[in-house]
């Protein structure tokens, strides 16, 4: 089943006085099947963040369509968009984006509260996501009291708790040390193993090597993709770094 369909997506940024047009996306087309784990790679300025912002409905495309589960968010009003994001998407950001005025528990529950769920239902779901992530015993702590890895796992729990159709992760390991990074990537693998669809933007080869499929973006277009096939993480890692070397040289694959 196809969960995400991105077709001919373009985005042009116009300078303040009409001049200076920059084309960040020049026609991106790809699809994601339900249960897939896709990594999108590219160098700074390749258009990764723009793409993710459009997928998250935080930004609107200049042209092309995004269909999530067959629906197009482009026509929604601001308040409908907020509900759309809440119900269909889960986010994990590089900078965690936890609210410092909430305990981890309240941070994780926030999307459910916004959707108006009842307290018993919330607690049930909380238990279901917190335990597997290993943060069950620090739920009452505040973000400033826990490590970066714990913060990012809390953010992952917040992304999962609404059972979203798609989890969007933006450089989730970017602010973590290597141990916390591999912990988090294992969490993602486990989530994916349970059938969760994940789309991750990263420029870490290590992070990308955990995915089933890796898309490469350069100059605003999908330039290349690699399927895991039967590879182990290490083999995929090798393939990715070969491709990156090739890209850097500016050659064709």
């Amino acid at each position: 089943m196809m969960i995400l369909e991105v077709k001919d997506l373009t985005k042009t940024y116009t300078g303040r006085f009409g001049g200076n047009q920059v084309q960040a996306l020049k026609g991106v087309t790809f699809t994601v099947e339900a249960g897939e784990y896709v990594a999108i790679m590219g160098e700074s300025g390749s258009g990764k963040t723009t793409l993710l912002n459009i997928l998250a409905a935080l930004d609107r495309p200049t042209g092309g369509t995004v269909l999530l589960d067959g629906k197009n968010p482009a026509g929604l009003r601001d308040d409908e968009l907020a509900a759309y994001r809440r119900n269909n998407l889960g986010f994990v950001f590089q900078e965690f984006n936890l609210l410092d005025t909430f305990s981890l528990k309240d941070n994780i529950l926030l999307p459910l509260v916004l959707s108006g769920k009842s307290v018993p239902e919330m607690e049930e779901k909380l238990a279901a996501v917190a335990e597997p992530l290993g943060i069950g015993d620090i739920l009452n702590k505040y973000p400033y009291e826990v490590s970066g890895g714990q913060k990012q796992r809390a953010a992952a729990a917040r992304a999962m708790i609404t059972d979203p159709k798609l989890i969007l992760a933006d450089e989730p390991t970017g602010a973590l040390d290597s141990q916390s990074s591999s912990d988090l990537l294992r969490v993602f693998e486990k989530m994916n193993g349970n059938g969760q669809t994940i789309l991750m933007v990263t420029h870490s080869t290590d992070a990308a090597s955990h995915a089933n499929r890796v898309l490469f973006i350069r100059d605003g277009v999908v330039f290349h993709q690699i399927y895991r096939g039967g590879c182990t993480n290490e083999q995929l890692y090798q393939k990715i770094s070969d491709t990156l070397t090739m890209l850097r040289k500016g050659g064709e694959v």
Partner: protein, 680 residues
């Protein structure tokens, strides 16, 4: 050298959101200090009718403004420094030594101080003229001041004073930069904040002291006690306000947070936790706003009602237009009271010469003395310090009573008629006996009206006693003469004159008094033993002198009330402004996160707006409650200043509160604009 100056200029430009209010604050405070300080010393003001009280009032006002200036300047400075710590840390990390940062800081202070002081002096000189006109208007006199008045004797101390405050803050800043480590400076703006905890001891202390303050304000019955208790009550309420703002709000919010079914609702969750943190950072500032607002409200409403009630006070205290008595010492060194017939003759003649018509003249013969009163005993002790047992006595004979009222009292021997003149605080004596200097009298009549001093508002206990006849009056006179010796009061003969046209009498007042004085001299000269007279003393109390005094006092009060009220209002605006800015910088980040997680822009904006509104209107509401509780106490103190009508004060307080609330809303919405600009 020019590098530091350049950086300083650049910094001021970049941080204009902080520097402009700071400069304005300094200018405003300096201008108001200069005006009040100059008024206190302006010799021409003293010569204005009713201006005799002005210098001492203004001196007090200047001291209050000086104190407020120090506090406010330190506050704006600390705010500025807190917001800029990261910037200083960055300079440090980039290789500037602390002394270099100090040099930049010094130049920044110098520039902003010069700007503030120059503007303040100019404003002060400019508005001095306006304020002196306003004062003359309030005193009800023609303006005597011609040109702009610049007094170097007050400009120089004002400027030096504010320079000293600036130097002080500058040295403090240099010191605080010196002791900080660069890493701390860098990190100080972004450390995670602990969730505020309820401090039970503080909560209890705050509640108790607020309750005690309120109780004192409401339960005090006696105007004199009210003055003594007022400052205690103010102190208790201030403590209570600070403690409850700091921990009481946390207590309520924590309880709400613990109620899961309430807390986990879209509207409540962000609001409760947001408020919890906001209150932690802002409680002290908000409590200060609340106290300043209460001060403004009480000051303005009481001075306005005093001023508005001036004519009524005058009418109460002067049922007649002119009161006069006279005594001289004869050859035997004895004090002789000039008879009321003689006085009447003098006044009638003087009035006729000035073309004034007399409506009526009454003569009063009475003995008045002070002491104390307890359980039916007149305690004959000199009043050296006024207390709640202090009492004054007016004693007349039954004959005088009949002459004044037209009704006869059947009194004989040691029988007396008794009247409590000031029952406003519930001390009514209902016993049957009265003891004066060892002699016991029987109270056989109770009067509700006493013809002497009718209607006069007084703050002390005051009793009117009618004795059976001349013999009894002399007995009382002797008793108090024995107790007081040379300080004893004599029996006074006084005439009270009412003219048909009070306004005309007021206009002709000075000439009339000249005429009376001539008449008294003529009378003295006509006495057979005139050559050996040891002088004749006469005393007049007139409605026109009273009017000048009451207008002078109430006008000076009102002027000070308005000026101090404005300064407090300015301080309130300043604190609100700085609060909004610091809130804005902190909320910006939170706002963005919530949007990413799936709150719509509208929801986020509404949530933040409702929190900010609650935070800023809490002090106003609390100030309203404070004012309500302060009301009975202030009313009693106003009685000492001779204002007796409660409805007038209620009206003035209500109107002041409305105007203040309006100004508050305007200040809030203007500063809220800055807030939203920062957030977006």
């Amino acid at each position: 050298m020019s590098l530091y100056s350049g950086m300083a200029r650049q910094n001021i430009k970049k941080n204009y959101r902080f520097f402009i209010p700071r400069i304005l604050t300094e200018a405003g405070l300096l201008a108001s200090f200069y005006i009040v300080f100059t008024l206190a010393g302006d010799s021409r003001m003293r010569t204005v009718r009713g201006g005799s009280l002005l210098p001492s009032f203004m001196a007090v006002g200047a001291a209050v403004i000086a104190l407020l200036s120090v506090v406010l300047m330190l506050y704006t400075n600390s705010f500025l420094m807190k917001q800029r710590k990261r910037e200083f840390g960055l300079y440090n990390v980039l290789g500037m030594e602390k002394r270099h940062v100090g040099k930049v800081l010094f130049r920044e202070s110098l520039y902003s101080s010069l700007a503030g002081i120059t503007a303040g002096t100019a404003l002060g000189i400019l508005f001095y003229k306006l304020c002196s006109l306003l004062i003359c208007r309030l005193l009800g006199v023609e303006s005597v001041l011609g040109f702009y008045y610049i007094s170097p004797a007050t400009v120089i101390p004002s400027v030096l004073g504010f320079l000293a405050i600036d130097l002080l803050t500058c040295l403090y800043n240099r010191y605080s930069i010196g002791v900080m480590k660069p890493v701390e400076l860098m990190a100080s703006a972004q450390t995670g904040e602990k969730e505020p905890k309820v401090r039970p001891l503080m909560l209890i202390l705050g509640t108790v002291s607020l309750a005690a303050g309120y109780y004192l304000a409401v339960a005090t019955r006696d105007p004199l006690e009210a003055i003594a208790c007022f400052f205690i009550a103010v102190f208790l309420v201030i403590i209570g306000t600070y403690f409850l703002f700091v921990t009481g709000t946390t207590f309520v919010l924590q309880r709400l947070k613990n109620r899961k079914s309430y807390y986990y609702r879209p509207k409540h969750m962000t609001a409760v936790s947001g408020l919890l943190y906001r209150m932690k950072q802002n409680a002290v500032g908000l409590a200060s706003i609340c106290i300043l607002a209460t001060g403004v409200l009480i000051m303005i409403s009481s001075t306005v009602s005093l001023y508005a009630g001036s004519e009524e006070t005058l009418a109460n205290n002067y049922p007649m237009d002119l009161y006069m008595n006279a005594t001289y010492r004869n050859r035997e060194e004895q004090k002789v009271t000039v008879s009321s017939e003689t006085l009447e003759g003098i006044v009638r003649e003087a009035a006729a010469k000035n073309g004034l018509e007399i409506e009526k003249i009454t003569a009063q013969r009475y003995l008045e003395f002070g002491g104390a009163f307890a359980d039916g005993v007149c305690i004959l002790e000199r009043v050296s310090q006024v207390s709640s047992s202090t009492a004054y006595y007016d004693i007349i004979t039954a004959d005088t009573y009949r002459a004044l009222t037209g009704s006869a009292l059947a009194l004989s021997g040691n029988q007396v008629a008794f009247c409590s003149l000031n029952t406003s605080y519930g001390k009514v004596y209902d016993g049957d006996t009265l003891t004066i200097g060892g002699a016991e009298y029987r109270i056989t009549e109770r009067l509700t009206y006493f013809p002497l001093n009718a209607g006069v508002t007084t703050a002390y206990q005051r009793y009117g006693i009618v004795v059976s006849g001349e013999e009894a009056l002399q007995a009382v006179y002797e008793a108090q003469r024995e107790a007081y010796g040379s300080n004893a009061s004599g029996i006074t003969e006084k005439i009270c004159v009412k003219f048909t046209d009070r306004e005309k009498a007021c206009e002709a007042g000075p000439e009339l008094e000249d005429e009376i004085s001539r008449g008294v001299r003529d009378f003295a000269a006509a006495q057979p033993d005139a050559a050996e007279f040891l002088g004749i003393g006469y005393f007049t109390d007139t409605v026109w002198k009273g009017r000048d005094e009451i207008h002078g006092m109430n006008g000076s009060f009102l002027f000070l009330g308005i000026l101090l009220g404005l300064v407090c209002l300015f301080a309130t605006a300043l604190i609100i402004y700085y609060k909004q800015i610091s809130e804005g910088y902190e909320d910006r980040n939170r706002y963005q996160i919530m949007e990413k997680i799936g709150m719509s822009q509208k929801e986020v904006r509404e949530s933040i707006r409702s929190q900010v509104r609650k935070v800023f209107f809490l002090p106003l509401a609390a100030a309203g409650v404070h004012v309500c509780f302060a009301f009975p106490m202030v009313l009693k103190m106003l009685k000492l200043l001779l204002l007796s009508r409660a409805t007038l004060f209620i009206l003035c307080t209500g109107a002041t509160f409305l105007v203040f609330a309006l100004v508050y809303v305007v200040i809030y919405s203007v500063t809220a604009k800055t807030y939203y600009k920062i957030v977006h």
